[in-house]
Amino acid sequence: MNAAILPGSVIGANPNAPEYLLAVDALTVSFDGFKAVNDVSFYVDPNEIRVIIGPNGAGKTTVLDLICGRTRASAGSIKYKGQELTKLTESAIVQAGVGRKFQTPSIYDDLTVFENLEISFPRGRSVFGALTFKRDAQVRERIHEIAETIFLKDQLLERAEFLSHGQKQWLEIGMLLIQDPELLMLDEPVAGMSVGERIKTAELLNQIIVGRSVLVIEHDMKFVEDIAHRVTVLHQGKVLSEGSMERVKNDPKVIEVYLGH
């Protein structure tokens, strides 16, 4: 399914077929001399939920920005299925199979939930393609399926601006799901959510993990414990610690800079 919509990523043609889905190597970015991300390396396996934690200003969001092409790396490499991402345009990165959710819900207020999802449907992405795009049965079914997954099937015809904060977050996750990315990056998906919504979101993430990897930035430690396979701790632009939640939690360095307070 993924291979069919990702013409750029022919794994079979690559003799050094990568074992990691995402390999971030010695990644550095400096803004006017300030290194927001400094020599960061980490590797994400297929079907892994990786959570990045760290205090404010640790460079977590910048790492996601670098992967999705919003910020250009000063040095280092980001390989996604063996393909170098640092040189690709944002839309090419998305088309290669990387989806990204922003920190604040980033949805189209003036459109309905249905239309929001439809825009993310991975077809008709060129100007001409968008002009001739047909809302056929395949599109409708997929949108209904996703809407069901993200608990919004009764809100399909509602304008997105009228959704609650939690519903907006789900909608954005749904907009990513419909792209069927192999790597899904979520920036604080449960920030500002109620307890009930958090539980549902964790359930949602565990459900959508099948067949893809998820890279999550989150502050809520309870939530992180619920979902993370592995955790990477960033501090001042560098990787401070990495491993299972259990290990990271007991790492004295991590306790000192982050978990201690």
Partner: protein, 389 residues
Amino acid sequence: MKNPVQTLTKSVTVNDNPFMKPIEWLSLAVLALVLLVVLPSLLDAFRLNLVGKYLTYAFVALGLVICWGYAGILSLGQGCFFGLGGYCMAMYLKLEASSVENTKIQSTPGIPDFMDWNQITALPWFWKPFQSLPLTLILVVAVPVLFAFVISAALFKRRVGGTYFAIITQAIAAILTILIVGQQGYTGGINGITDLRTLHGWDIRTDGAHTILYFVNGGLLIGCILIAQFVKKSKLGRILVAMRDKEDRVRFSGYSVAGFKVFAFCLAAAFAAIGGAMFTLQVGFMSPSFVGIVPSIEMVIYAAVGGRMSLFGAVWGTLLVNWAKTSFSESFPDLWLFGLGALFIAVVLAFPNGLAGIWREHVEPRLTRRVKGLRAPPPAIVPHGAPAE
């Protein structure tokens, strides 16, 4: 309409995205009726020609609805494209009017009079394509669109947007005016290209020709409305709205945002160019005074007054403002520009959706209630958000 839930599911699965809603068909029918039947039968040839001139601006306003209203790209330089379209048409007409026979008193017969006055002895290369009518008709649209493409591709690829884009388009309008005025020998200078007579042998100065051109203009305008409606209704139209809201979200959904903006800007330029060409044909001349900053801003005001999200509103807004302009500027020539400025401020502050907004919020609900009141019994509650049947 029997069961709300049924209506809901049905509207999702069957035709939830018709080309035009009934109310839109009705709006189109009313507009066509007024433009093609009512006005021609009520107005004398002179007044009808005046309305025809106003309607050429409606093409620009229509383009602004897509470009500004939908895509959120405010252009303060639409006069450029209106003017370029108009100049392309004028160049053809001028060449036809400058036959060797008509210009035999010149030192170089067969070239436009203003070239002769400026000691130019041969037709410049860029005038040559305009000796052919089919080529001219293509160039009328192609030249402004190409110009729009170059500007917008250069700026949007560099992520220049919003106010900066608006200011740059305004600067371009000013530059183009200065260029046209300065190159008198090639462009006719400040006077523009005047004394136009025939289109492929057909005298365009008669009342009869004016009437025919009025209908051609009206037909083209309705054609452009339908094209704009098609764009608006397509996924591209929704992407434009989405881009206006959350550009980054669209970009990170796999779209090249710049390409879509370029498309919207070029479409607006194409509409403006058609309007410009029709202006030249109906008014009989083209001059730099339709290219610069003031006309460009006036055109934005037409779209704002009509409602920048409404295709039909743009046409009505253009007609209304121009009618007001003609009436007021005859009586109070000094005050008119202040009045226009005040109108723009008032519309933006009080009615951000213009005439179309007033219609949608105040008139339409009442009409619907009236119509529904006549029908018995009242229909079941339509679920929120379901499209009106």
